[in-house]
């Protein structure tokens, strides 16, 4: 019978399939960070259990870390304690940690791929919903809670029901100025924030095939914002050339053997998907969210919608609430919305290609005097690579802050937060109330759109940008 990519990875990882209960699924790679792990390690200690496969477990610090003045002790005592706790746990249980001073430290979903830890065909979990990012390599990668983190630490397995499958076919090519981020937002706009609940999405089609690995990661990253447990893309030459030579990628004969295996990782002709969605890439535009849910999104050339036109009563009320929180009037052209802050960062859009795209827009311009803008690279490696290309100079000379890697203002767990009422163009993935700081107003956009907004002081259509 023809099988999907998910079927193939799934079948390969079932340790045991009891009748009438979830399969026991083997986990190839377990990524750990400081926020969702302390209670899991504590659980192990209380039960007298060990970590079954410390060699398949990798930790880093990202959510809490300061993005400036790293040489100073962390000012926030509770954050410092959480980081110290991870350090202690990693030492006690023998887990490799990319700590604050490591040249490989960074956002967990940025460092996994760039170290070559993330590979096609793997099962990958992390106590973090954006683990879906790693699916860009043709892996089954999904976020788990702390109880499951403990489960994987103790057993290297998880009891799982097989999810349903959804194929999202993106036909045609993305127009210039329309990025993987816009594609992700366009998909959420089409299927809704719970459109893929219970599903694993496989992205396919011409527009997806033409994406770089960075773009594919952006797309898979935001699968969770459509409710999906995971997003995946079958591996191809783009995947292989990204991986070749990375520190943890196979070498020599092992590399050749791996490529042969990986080439099998595509959905067979005629494989059954529970749902198929077609998207025409040519109809997409640069998007800007106007509300407090990623599905509340319109093209930059549109206006803030009128809640009265919402399809249901519940949506109307939600839209009214969102507009009130966002301080917006229905009918306002998106391009007239002025901003106070710009955040270029997060596991969605803080890789080298994202910084290049933003820098191309910024080159030769100055940040609008009313705007405070920052760039937070996704990892130390991204930061160094960007500096080698002198992207930091472009940003700095324009008036951007150039910071150290971490989650930063994506969720505002460290000192990088919005003040109440501040409006931010952000390349992150969630525009929830208070996400970037209590009372802060987040608009999700692509790196190019964020960069253009920083210069203009308001949203502007990057398709008309005068590149210098």
């Amino acid at each position: 019978m023809p099988r999907t990519l998910l079927d193939k990875i799934w079948d390969e990882h079932v340790v045991y399939q009891p009748e009438d209960a979830p399969a026991l699924l083997y986990i190839d790679l377990h990524l750990v960070h400081e926020v969702t792990s302390p209670q899991a390690f504590e659980g192990l200690r209380v039960a007298g259990r060990r970590v079954r496969r410390p060699d398949l477990t990798v930790a880093t610090v990202d959510h809490n870390v300061p993005t400036a003045d790293r040489h100073l002790p962390i000012a926030d005592a509770i954050a410092a304690q959480q980081i110290a706790t991870l350090r202690r746990n990693c030492r006690e249980f023998g887990i490799r940690l990319f700590d604050m001073d490591s040249e490989y430290q960074g956002i967990v979903h940025v460092i996994g791929p760039e170290l070559g830890l993330t590979q096609p065909g793997m099962t990958i979990v992390c106590g973090d919903s954006h683990t879906s990012t790693h699916g860009a390599f043709g892996a089954l990668a999904f976020g788990i809670g702390t109880s499951e983190v403990e489960h994987v630490l103790a057993t290297q397995c998880l009891p799982q029901r097989k999810p349903r499958t959804m194929a999202i076919r993106v036909n045609g090519k993305l127009p210039a100025g329309v990025s993987a981020k816009d594609l992700a937002l366009g998909i959420i706009r089409t299927i809704g924030t719970d459109g893929a609940t219970g599903y694993v999405i496989e992205y396919m089609g011409e527009a997806v095939r033409s994406l770089s690995m960075e773009g594919r990661m952006t797309l898979c990253n935001m699968s969770i914002e459509a409710g999906a447990r995971a997003g995946m893309i079958s591996p191809d030459d783009t995947t292989f050339s990204y991986l070749e030579g990375r520190p943890h990628a196979p070498r020599g004969a092992a590399w050749d053997a791996a490529i042969k295996r990986w080439q099998e990782l595509a959905s067979d002709e005629g494989a059954h998907f529970d749902r198929v969605v077609d998207i025409d890439a040519r109809t997409l535009a640069p998007f800007v969210t106007w509300g407090t849910s990623p599905g509340q999104v319109v093209p930059v050339t549109d206006r803030v919608p009128d809640p009265a036109e919402a399809a249901t009563e519940a949506e109307r009320r939600a839209a009214e609430r969102a507009l009130q929180y966002m301080g917006l009037e229905p009918g306002t052209p998106i391009e007239e919305i002025e901003i106070d802050r710009v955040f270029i960062g997060s596991c969605t859009n803080a890789r080298l290609e994202d910084l290049r795209a933003a820098a191309a827009v910024v080159r030769g311009y100055r940040v609008h005097p009313k705007v405070r803008a920052m760039v937070v690279p996704g990892s130390q490696q991204v930061k160094r690579a960007a500096e080698a290309e002198r992207l930091d100079r472009i940003f700095r000379e324009a008036g951007f802050e150039w910071r150290d890697p971490g989650c930063s203002m994506c969720l505002g767990m460290n000192a990088d937060i919005l003040q109440p009422g501040e409006r931010c163009a952000s390349t992150s993935n969630r525009n929830f109330e208070g996400r970037q700081g209590r009372g802060g107003r987040t608009h999700l956009v692509s790196p190019m759109m964020a960069a253009a907004a920083a210069i203009a002081g308001h949203f502007t259509d990057v398709r008309r940008w005068q590149f210098k």
Binding site: V15, Y16, D20, A21, P22, L24, Y26, V35, T36, Q39, E42, A47, R49, R52, H63, N64, D76, I78, Q81, Q82, T85, G127, D128, S129, G143, I144, G145, T146, S147, E148, E150, H151, A154, T155, Q156, C157, P159, R161, T193, D194, T197, G227, R229, S293, G295, A314, E315, R317, A318, R321, L411, M413, P420, R430, F432, E433, G434, R435, R438, G439
Partner: protein, 197 residues
């Protein structure tokens, strides 16, 4: 995990779609390394004004919902991050069950692992329960996992479905890690087989 069998309690209607984990428990409270004591931070930004006083416009601060243990919510409850702090804070506050038209996957999983029952009912039924809870002070329902039904003192409101394995674990309050460890020989055999290829 504490078992869940049958629970009767006051219903609090927070009938909004897409209530995300940042609302359930804002990130500033995720730095704690304990599993307990999160109830005080539940819905923090909605419950308290910016100067730290209870916000009188938020329903959980209304006297008729004091002691509520069953939450009614709109679709896609618990969307957003994988933070298990969300169910921890709901439980610690006193909630035992949440009734909504749909739940985000990771949240539902996390809830089940902690003995907090997510009950999926269709949109109109959820709306009707929310309306009863708004109209009748102290309105209570019973969530019965043994019979898979939700009822009030007058009638059976609806039956619901739940994964039989999850139901079994909840009814018995099972430690899932211990269950998996019973298959340790199979895990070892799987690892040995994969090492050979």
């Amino acid at each position: 995990m504490q078992p869940f069998r049958v629970h009767t309690g006051i219903v609090a209607p927070l009938y909004r779609p897409n209530i995300d984990t940042d609302q359930i428990i804002p990130k500033q409270f995720l730095k704690r390394i304990e599993r307990t004591g999160f109830g005080q931070f539940l819905f923090y930004d909605w419950r308290y004004t910016s100067d730290g006083r209870p916000d009188p416009t938020f329903i959980l601060n209304w006297p008729q919902y004091e002691g509520a243990s069953i939450l009614i919510a709109g679709k896609n409850f618990g969307c957003g991050s994988s933070r298990e702090h969300a169910p921890w804070s709901l439980l610690d506050y006193g909630f035992r069950a949440i009734i909504a038209p749909s739940f985000a996957d990771i949240f539902a999983n996390n809830a089940l692992k902690n003995g907090l029952l997510p009950v999926v009912l269709d949109e109109s039924t959820v709306a009707a329960i929310a309306a009863s809870a708004e109209a009748t002070p102290g309105y209570q329902v019973t969530v019965d996992l043994e019979r898979c039904e939700v009822r009030d003192e007058n009638r059976i409101i609806s039956t619901f479905t739940i994964d039989p394995f999850q139901r079994h674990c909840l009814l018995e309050g099972l430690d899932e890690i211990a269950l998996t460890l019973q298959h340790e020989a199979l895990i070892a055999a799987y690892e040995a087989k994969r090492n050979r290829v």
